[in-house]
Structures are given as C-alpha cells and as structure tokens.
Symmetry: C2
Subunit: 357 residues, 2 copies
C-alpha cells in the first residue's frame, strides 16, 4: 500500500513536471489552411458568417465543424502537445472520438508528410501530449483539426526551451486548391482520425491544399454553397453529393449548381462523382435501386451538359471506387480508413491529371 502511495505521488509529481515543461502558444499565431473563405464567424469555421440565416440552420451549423482545416508550424520540440476546447463535444456511435473531435499531427520527413500521432479528446476541453521523445530537430508540422466538431480555442504546446515558428515549407501547395463539395463522407465520416478523411489523404498525395465542403446529410446542392465555391481560386472542383439528394433534386438542381460555378470558373475542371455503391446494397434491394437510379440520372445530366458545350466537366462512375469486397464501411454507408484509402487511391490519378493541365 505504501509503495502504491509513493508510486501515485511520483506519478503526480512527474505529471506536473512534464506539464510544466511545456509552453503553450495560441494556434492563432500560425497559418490555417483548408478554408474556402476567411469571412467566417470564428477562425475555425468553414462557411462565411453572412450565410447564417440564409441557408438551412443545420447546414450552417455543419460549416462550424472544422473538417479539412489544418494548421502549419515548425518546431524543434522533443514533445508536442495541444490544448483544445470544442464547441460541441459531439459524440457519434459509428465514428471514433479521435476522428470526430481529436487532432492529428503529421510531420514532413524524407520528402513526404508522415503521421506523427493523434491527440485524443477527453471531453469538451482536452490537454494531451501528442508525441514525445523526439530528437529535437527542426521539423515542419501539419495539425489536422476535428472533422465533426468545432473549436472554441486551440493552443500548441512545445518544450519550454524549444522553438516554434512559422512554417518555411510551402507544402501542401496552398495556391489554387482543390475544392471538394459533398456529404458526410466528404466531411470525413467515419475516419478514425482527421488525417484519414479522403480530402486530407488527397491533400498529402497531391501536395495541394484541398478544401473540404462536406456537410453531413446536407450536401443538397444548395446554390449558396455553389456561390461560395465559385468565389474561390479553385484549380479543380470535385462534387460528391449524390447520397444526400433525391433523384428529383439531382434532376432539378445539378445544372444550376454547376452553372453557378461556371459564372467565375468557365474552364475550371468540375469532376462529378456518382454515389459509391453502398456495400449493404448487396442485400438491401431498395438502397441499391435508389443508388442506381440516382447515378444514372446524374450520368445522363453530365452527358447532356457536355453535349451543351461544357468541355471541362467529367462524370466519374463510382464502380470500384471503394473496392468490391464489401468491407470498407462501418455501416454500409460511411467509409472507414480502409474505404477512404481506396477512395483517395482511385481519385488521385483523376484529379492529378487535371492539376497537370
């Protein structure tokens, strides 16, 4: 008992020491990427503040989730930690809390972005060590923010004697981002950690900023979102909205949504993806019929738009996009890290081709 007591005392003492050695810096001092606009209510939101009340409340709320946003800095710290406060402390039963409301640190090593470690959330406020025992060499870092929650505040902790500085490496390239629009799948459900959302995987592979305009259940071709997207300096638009709209909505709204992008982007490639073939559709006859009908409508509309003269539009058939073994989702719909890896793997060459042009 005495030994145990001493061990607890030592543990507490050690914990305090370790904590006191970290110095925290407001993340507001470091550049944030993945935003389609800077006219947001708070720094860690995605949609313009002016849209509040102009679009459905749920859609605007989802815009306050920090999906796809990432902070860049460099440091020679041996230990990196973070302290963050969430706006919602959201809980989902089909997605790990690290993906929903945790952080995900990558470091640039040997010419590529490598996973360092994740910050696991413990509640509305968390202070957590992300990585420890590093060499203490200067390194460029990228910190992905929560996919399904928002941030009230974020501070980065490094050893009190370490440097933390502005990034020097221009990677991922932030000019002419790729702009994704879509559903919960685009937003990142159900990546185990933020870095495994398809948009973030693609950003690393393409070495290009990718903007995530995925809105869970709400990728419903709202024209206001098309207008926001049109205002960006996009190199490529990728639209992956089918699971959130009815067949009638596809017929009624796709052309106008694209037309609004075309106002300012007459020649920017627009890649439109059919709905992934939900694995449970192998058993659920209804869902597979609905998906097939919607994909056929969308393919026909894209064909028609091309016929009408849009040379920069491409429809991507979703067949084989997430593999054919039925395994890459948690619930038939939402992709796991396995599904996102396959999706990114298959979308990479398609987007890459347009970036080269």
């Amino acid at each position: 008992m005495t030994v145990r007591f001493l061990m607890i005392c030592f543990g507490l003492f050690w914990g305090v020491c370790a904590q006191s050695q970290q110095k925290y810096y407001d993340a507001a001092s470091f550049p944030l990427y993945g935003k389609v606009t800077n006219e947001t209510g708070s720094r860690y939101e995605r949609l313009p503040a002016s849209l509040e009340g102009q679009v459905r409340d749920r859609l605007f709320y989802l815009g306050t989730n920090s999906a796809g946003l990432y902070l860049r800095f460099r440091s020679n710290a041996k230990t990196i930690s973070a302290s963050w406060e969430l706006t919602g402390n959201v809980g989902l039963n089909h997605m790990a809390a690290v993906g929903v409301k945790g952080l995900d640190l990558y470091g640039y090593k040997n010419g590529e972005w490598r996973f360092v470690n994740s910050g696991k959330p413990t509640g509305k406020k968390t202070t957590a060590t992300i990585i420890d025992n590093m060499k203490g060499e200067m390194c460029e870092y990228m910190l992905y923010l929560p996919l399904y929650d928002g941030l009230e505040a974020l501070r980065i902790g490094v050893d009190s004697t370490a440097l933390i500085e502005q990034p020097q490496l221009a990677s991922p390239v932030s000019e002419k981002p790729v702009v994704f629009y879509g559903t919960s799948i685009t937003q990142g459900a159900c990546a185990s950690r933020p870095g495994m959302a398809a948009t973030n995987i693609l950003s690393r592979r393409l070495n290009r900023e990718v903007i995530n305009l995925g809105f869970s259940g709400n990728g419903q071709l709202d024209y206001e979102i098309a207008d926001v997207m049109a205002g960006s300096e996009a190199s490529v638009f990728v639209l992956d909205f089918v699971p959130n709209v009815t067949n009638q909505q596809i017929i009624d709204k796709t052309e106008e949504f694209v037309r609004r992008l075309r106002v300012k982007h007459p020649k920017t490639p627009v890649i439109i993806i059919g709905s992934i073939l939900f694995p449970h559709g192998q058993f659920d006859q209804h869902i597979s019929a609905v998906v097939n009908e919607k994909n056929e409508s969308l393919a026909a509309i894209c064909k028609d738009l091309k016929k009408k003269g849009d040379k920069y539009l491409r429809y991507v058939s979703p067949e084989h996009l997430i593999g054919d073994d039925g395994e890459p989702t948690v619930d038939g719909i939402h992709l796991t890290d396995l599904g996102f890896s396959r999706y990114a793997e298959n979308m990479y060459p398609i987007i890459k081709k347009y970036l080269k042009k």
Copy 2:
C-alpha cells in the same frame, strides 16, 4: 403544421408496425463459435469461470468481453434486427462504438462471406434494425459480437412470418480452430466494427474458426492462459503479445509459455509475431528503441527454441506487416480497419501454409 403532425403520426404508426412485424428469438438457440472453452460463467464470455480469482482481475474481466465470438443461423427474413444488452456499456475515445459494443452481420453469398450491415449501439440496451428490404431468400448468416464489451442478453429479430433456423453450412470450418493469443490489437482495437478485427477477417479468408484470446494491455504471457489454450483442439497457435510485455518478461516467460502449449500440442505449429513497428516510432525515439529491443529478444528466443529441437515454431518478423506508409493506426499503436486488413492480408499466407500441412 397539420401536415407535419400527420407525418409524425404516420411515422410513429409505421415504426410500431415495423417493430411489431419483427419476432425476436433468443440467440441461445443458435450455435456460438470462437470460444476456446464452454466452461465459461455466461455464454458470451471467453475464459473458463474457474480462472476467476486465479488470474489478475483485469485479465479475467477482459475475458468477459465477447471479442471474436460469432453466432450462426440461417433465415429467409427480409429484415433482420437485434436486441442486445451489454454488461458494461464501455466507451473508448479511439474506437467507434460499433466496434466496441455493436454487432456485425455477414451473409454467405456466391461462395463467400459478405458484409451485410452492422448493429449500432445506442446505450446499455439497444434494439436496432441491421438490414432491411432483402429479397427474402434463405441465407446463411454470421453475427459477430462486441469486441470490447460483454453481453447480458442477445435476441435476433426476423419478420414474424419468416423462418429462422439452425445453420446448415459448415463455414467457417469449426474443427481444429486457429487460436490467437495477444494484446488489445488482437482483441480488436480499433476495428470500426467487430467483423474487421484481424482474427475475424482471417476467419473468413481461411474459412476456419479463429479463436480470439486478445486481452487489452494484458497479453502478459500468463501461464494460466497457455494452459487454457493447450486444452483446445488448435490447428495453429498464433502468439502476438510483445506490446504488452517488457523485455525482461519476454526473456523470463516466453519459453515456459510455449512449453505449456507443447505439453498437449507437441507438433502443433506455433507462430510467434514480433511487435508491429508502431508508426509513431518514426518520431518517438524511445518507443522505437523499446520495440526493436523486444523484437530482437523474442527472435533470439525463438531461434534458441528451434535449436533445442522445436521444429514447429516460427518467428514472424513484423516488418512490413502493416505496410510502411505510417497510416494504419489511430494512435500509433492500435490498428484501424486499414491496419487490420493489411495485417490479415500478410498473415493469411503464413497461417494458410500451416493449415495445409
């Protein structure tokens, strides 16, 4: 408002109808696989009741988690649902609740086991539709149980007019199972759903019952567990315990653990796997040094045991076991579905070779 009220009324009415059309059957009527022994306290546990008080409390508790257990039945239902009560209602921040305490249904189609859909937990007690709108053809099913929680009760629901019967297909083959021993990773952290734990993926691929004796943080070479394993009719033993033991424990206990298996299994293949190379070890110098030291010790001990005459022992080097891109974990340690897919893919031919002999 009136329309909305009517819609709500219709929704409730429909919900009641849908519910009343399902008839529930106690899962105790159907065979359960993945158990190393039937001498357990309750049906959905993994360790013999006699071990209570004989092994560490935490280890015994983890044995009450239903990792790797699966129910078999067949039915011509159009809708399948389940009602289950958990022993703990466990919550983990690095793993989706579906994997922790949900259900996962597979169906046998075109000669292979295919994902049907998962049962998402909503609390200590859940009643959930797993799959709907099926053709109503007779099909063999396999239902994986929670990985990180236990079951007080489980009932399977099918349409009130549908048949639910004993399985007729002997798949996965339940004679001479493969017996896995290990850590949280073996237990299934952090699969998004039960079917994606490595042991369950391997069971489908090998078409063989695979017994999961993974104990989170507690794969510490307890000899009592070796004795339990020795009492099974294993075709192959796979030991993957390194992350849970110190280097000294490896040196002190590995030989005796194997010796206890050999008492009843002199010629059964024993595959011993080194610790996966944790991706964050690319940055955390301490963890990579610890892992390398332990793997070297284990490799040396295996070499020594072979030299002493054990012809049926094999050490598997963990290099490349989960790929080299640093992406397959949620926190540097615990595998996601991406990691488990790679682990199973790489272990499959190794185990398969021994099953053929």
